[in-house]
Symmetry: C2
Subunit: 230 residues, 2 copies
């Protein structure tokens, strides 16, 4: 039976945008598992599986419900040990947590800033109201006033990717010769931006952009099945 | 036969200070290998093993000469597979490279700034001349003028450690429940600072400082055998 993935969408069900759901999508594909998706909007998240989680992704695998992208990846590796590993051993499991924290604290805040108005525009009417209210409360200003910072922050954002850029001089993926969940962690963040906003985060010649393109090609071009925002 | 480690020192042979040599020292201890050290000053580095490397650490293990801390760690895991792993699998090997690049690009530049004058003061006369000349050429200013930036940069430096700090909410070491080479990578940087300068990089209550203290305790308190700079 296919694993059910609750995947965050806006008005258009064919454009999932959540970075964390993209991590889970790529992890499921990496394991070669059958997936069916339940398109889910922000306001529906608390109702998933009887309130199993405050956030997506959530998966149901038979009787088992698992929330949180990292926990899902750990679960998949444990439940399906015969399929390609997502971590490459215990060291990889531990260090993927560092990379997750790095991505969350280094990449996510800037993308939130850069894509905030576009993310709002993707929501249906009710969810757009929720999104504006919750985000304006978090930032203490209007969405439109948050996004004005993106041009000024772009150079610093690109500089903050330098560890990744430098690492790509040694190996084609964070996971080494081939991708692991650590790649999907960072991919998820950049895919979130790609789906949400036409704002150009990376210079085309950047090796990080080239790595991202390699990730878009993975698993039958799964990431490219959703067109970049225009 | 003991493995010979060429370890960078200044005037005082008992105070090795190189971050990269400390990575190798901890890696050798992690593997439980016998080590003898050859205290080496900057100007002696090009003469090691007939010019085997422009940088330290270098080890000699029987007939085998290996340079570069990361390459040494990879060598030790391959040459001594029956002893505790430094990477915890192929995923850990790959992700440790990301962590190395992060440490090198995020932590090292600030410590260089903060410790530059103190590092100069540790050298003997000839090496102090070399150190001043080479570093002043690199920075394009006097050592004393580089260090003046350290107070202004301290807050940003501490903030840059946030991914590590956040990760420590999940697990006690970068390697997970116990340390791996990835821990020694970051430890090496902070130990370099600890040995070179009394300047306080971390707030005592910082979980990063607590993790560093745990690292100092490892392998019979190996890191504490050199007293903090006063």
């Amino acid at each position: 039976m296919a694993i059910l993935l609750y995947d965050l969408v806006g008005r258009d069900e064919s454009r999932p945008f959540s970075p964390h759901c993209w991590k889970a999508t790529m992890a499921l594909a990496h394991k070669g598992l059958d997936v069916s998706t339940a398109p889910t909007r922000f306001l529906e998240v608390p109702t998933i599986e009887g309130g199993a989680s405050k956030t997506v992704p959530v998966i149901r695998d038979g009787d088992k419900v698992v929330a949180d992208s990292f926990t899902i990846a750990l679960y998949l590796d444990e439940a399906y040990p015969g399929r390609p590993t997502l971590f490459g051993g215990d060291g990889g499991k531990a260090m993927a947590r560092f990379i997750e924290r790095w991505s969350q604290l280094t990449i996510h805040p800037y993308i939130t800033t850069a894509a905030l108005v576009d993310l709002h525009a993707m929501q249906d009417e009710r969810n757009a109201v929720y999104f504006r209210q919750s985000r304006e409360q978090r930032f203490g200003k209007k969405l439109e006033d948050v996004v004005t910072a993106r041009d000024a922050g772009l150079t610093a954002f690109r500089a903050a990717l330098e560890p990744l850029r430098s690492m790509l001089g040694y190996q084609p993926f964070i996971g080494g010769a081939s991708p692991l969940f650590a790649d999907y962690i960072v991919f998820g963040a950049l895919q979130w931006a790609r789906v949400a906003t036409p704002y150009q985060l990376l210079d085309d010649g950047d090796v990080v952009a080239q790595w991202f393109a390699r990730c878009l090609d993975l698993h039958g071009g799964l990431g490219r099945k959703v067109a970049a925002a225009a």
